[in-house]
């Protein structure tokens, strides 16, 4: 009895430093954010006052909000499936017994090691009108110069390409790790039965990779809202918010316009979206995932 209680006390004492930090820097700000979204922004000597749902009303009428939300939607729609598919393809490839696969694995993983800011700088060089790598190659075929980041039609897609390039290598590592746990005898058993490569992938490999796919896709969803560093370096959301995303807009509202209450409101909306997506994914996948 005594020792049991003492162990409890120990346990709590051990946990308390981490817990204090977590509460102080994660839970408290989160709650505070929700609270702030119901108040006005304090300015000068004017204190924050309770304004109920006014901030949310503003949000519904805010064209820029809807614009960045749509941008973020397309950003997610392209980056999530493409980065997952690409990472799976790369993992399958470098998992095979090919010559120089060590080098290939490293090459694919490099974008992940680089900070997104550095990646952005590399891509700036690719995109630069006239001098950039892409335009130089286009020039070989006699195609005209193109301002990839400066044109509203292509700015968002330029950002999407960078994000996919950055993320695929990261996800590949998870797929590669999962592939290595699948015994080669399964492939051999399927070979003996005459299963084609594609049949084996569809009926065996892909189902066995489902837990990884779930994990990776949740990460991809979160990243599609979170990965905005390159936008700061490359387009700053422009032109005319064509490449702005929700998180980037939140940053602008909070630290360029200092409208902290409205920024809090936007944050609440973003977190709500993320939670809904994560829950949806779990329910969608759970029935289909085979856990070992």
């Amino acid at each position: 009895m005594e020792t049991a209680r003492r162990q409890w006390i120990y346990a709590w004492l051990m946990l308390s430093p981490a817990m204090a930090l977590l509460i102080l820097f994660t839970h408290y700000p989160a709650v505070q954010t929700i609270v702030n979204s119901f108040y006005s922004t304090p300015r000068g000597r004017r204190k924050a006052v309770w304004i109920g749902l006014d901030n949310y009303q503003t949000l519904i009428l805010d064209d820029v909000f809807w614009k960045v939300l749509m941008n973020n939607f397309w950003y997610a729609v392209w980056t999530i499936p493409l980065s997952i598919l690409l990472s799976l393809a790369m993992a399958l490839w470098v998992n095979d017994k090919i010559r120089g696969r060590g080098f290939l694995r490293m090459a694919y993983f490099t974008p992940t090691v680089l900070p997104l800011i550095a990646v952005a700088n590399i891509w700036l060089f690719f995109y630069t009108p006239g001098f950039g790598l892409i335009d130089q190659i286009r020039g070989l075929f006699g195609l005209a110069e193109q301002n990839w980041m400066g044109s509203p039609d292509t700015a968002l897609y330029s950002m999407i390409a960078v994000a996919i390039w950055k993320e695929a290598g990261f996800f590949m590592i998870f797929y590669l790790a999962a592939l290595q746990t699948i015994p080669p005898s399964l492939r051999e058993a399927a070979d003996i039965e005459g299963a084609s490569r594609w049949y084996y992938f569809r009926r065996v490999l892909f189902p066995l990779l489902m837990p990884t796919t779930l994990f990776v896709s949740i990460n991809a969803v979160i990243n599609s809202f979170r990965l905005v560093d390159h936008i700061f370096v490359m387009t700053e959301g422009g032109p005319n918010n064509a490449s702005s995303l929700l998180l980037f807009y939140i940053y602008e509202v909070a630290f360029d316009y200092w409208d902290t209450a409205y920024a809090a409101t936007l944050t609440v909306v973003m977190i709500a979206i993320l939670i809904l997506l994560a829950i949806g994914q779990f329910f969608l996948f759970d029935r289909k995932v085979h856990y070992k």
Binding site: L186, I192, G194, R203, P207, K292
Partner: protein, 363 residues
């Protein structure tokens, strides 16, 4: 139903860079028979089997199945089914789906597929487990599922790589019989890899004994037991294995010969020509194993459990002529005929003392 096909390996070699794992295998596996490939770990059994299956490419040589050269044919075109040591069941598929995996690949009609599944499941006693996942089965049940997959494939040749090594002793004995029965019933050609000589001896029509990438001997269990062609075979087959000692220890003046005598062939005999001292005695109930010291070497001897021997006592032993095996010490090869000096050893009535040149008291 299916009928077996013969397999012929000619001049088979396999090397991975520097490591040579098969150094030229010539082997005929008769159709419809149970052949075990036996040998110590690392001798190339699995490699041989995987080459027959088409899972491994040959470095040189040819593989023929049913008279056709299949050396460059993929695994699926060789009319073989295989049971892996690890069973290789698909963990996300039910037992039923695992068994009919190959039938689905071949797009067999549903009715036919179900009929085959039911027949195989009945044969193996798996009917009540069809909806389970492999992880919910015991080792023996998983083994049966792997067998089921091989059965419904209706191939002419079954290849098995140590299929029982993950099972406990009792289950192993059961499955041994079951697999043997199955092979007889289906009439397929079975190639069964094992490093357990008991398995090989009890199941096989033909044993292929391998050592370091080469074949030591091919023969029926009886042949291999009663007439080992090499010293390696002699020491590998039999529990406990054959005892060996130099000819000189038995009082024969030949340095180039090693003598082999099975423990059960060495009998206590008051007038026996072999004089020995009793070393360690291991009592096993029905019988006992005695370490007999001859010269400074030892020969194991199996005696009745009722006989009591005291440590260090001097005993006399004899051995029937047919139970004497002589091998060339350098090459390990069996000597086809016993040299004349050996006559003394098997002449049971002799009273010649050990150590002298016993030829004086020939019959």
């Amino acid at each position: 139903m299916t009928t077996g096909k013969s397999i012929m390996l000619r001049g088979l070699r396999k090397a991975w860079g520097e490591t040579v794992s098969l150094k030229g295998i010539d082997l005929t596996i008769p159709e419809g028979k149970f052949t075990t490939i036996l040998g110590p770990s690392g001798c190339g059994k699995s490699t041989t089997l995987r080459i027959i299956a088409g899972l491994e490419e040959v470095s040189a040589g040819t593989v023929e199945i049913g008279g056709e050269d299949v050396t460059s044919r993929p695994a699926s075109g060789r009319d073989i089914a295989m049971v892996f040591q690890s069973y290789a069941l698909f963990p996300h598929l039910s037992v039923a789906e695992n068994i009919i995996f190959g039938l689905r690949v071949r797009r067999m009609g549903r009715a036919e597929r179900d009929a085959k599944l039911t027949a195989a499941a009945d044969m193996l006693g798996l009917s009540y487990l069809l909806d389970r996942k492999p992880s919910q089965l015991s080792g023996g049940q998983q083994q049966r599922v792997a067998l089921g997959r091989a059965i419904v494939a209706e191939k002419s040749i079954f290849l098995m790589d140590e299929p029982l090594s993950n099972l406990d002793a009792k289950l192993r004995a059961e499955m041994r019989e079951e697999i043997r029965d199955l092979q007889k019933r289906l009439g397929v050609t079975m190639v069964y890899v094992t490093h357990d000589q008991v398995e090989a001896v009890t199941m096989a029509d033909q044993i292929v004994l391998m050592n370091q990438g080469e074949i030591e001997q091919i023969g029926s269990p009886r042949q291999i037991y009663s007439r080992p062609e090499t010293l390696f075979t002699a020491k590998f087959i039999g529990t406990p294995p054959m005892g060996t000692c130099s000819a000189r220890a038995l009082g024969i003046a030949r340095d180039d010969i090693t003598v082999g005598i099975r423990p059960e062939a060495l009998v206590l005999d008051q007038n026996g020509p072999i004089r020995a001292r009793v070393g360690h005695v291991e009592y096993l109930g029905a019988d006992a194993m005695v370490e007999c010291r001859v010269g400074d070497e030892t020969l194991p001897c199996r005696i009745s459990g009722r006989t009591e021997l005291t440590l260090g006592a001097t005993i006399r032993l004899s051995v029937a002529r047919d139970d004497l095996h002589a091998f060339d010490s350098a090459s390990g090869q069996r000597l086809d005929t016993l040299p004349p000096e050996f006559a003394a050893l098997s002449a049971a009535q002799t009273t010649a003392p050990l150590g002298s040149h016993a030829s004086s008291t020939e019959r």
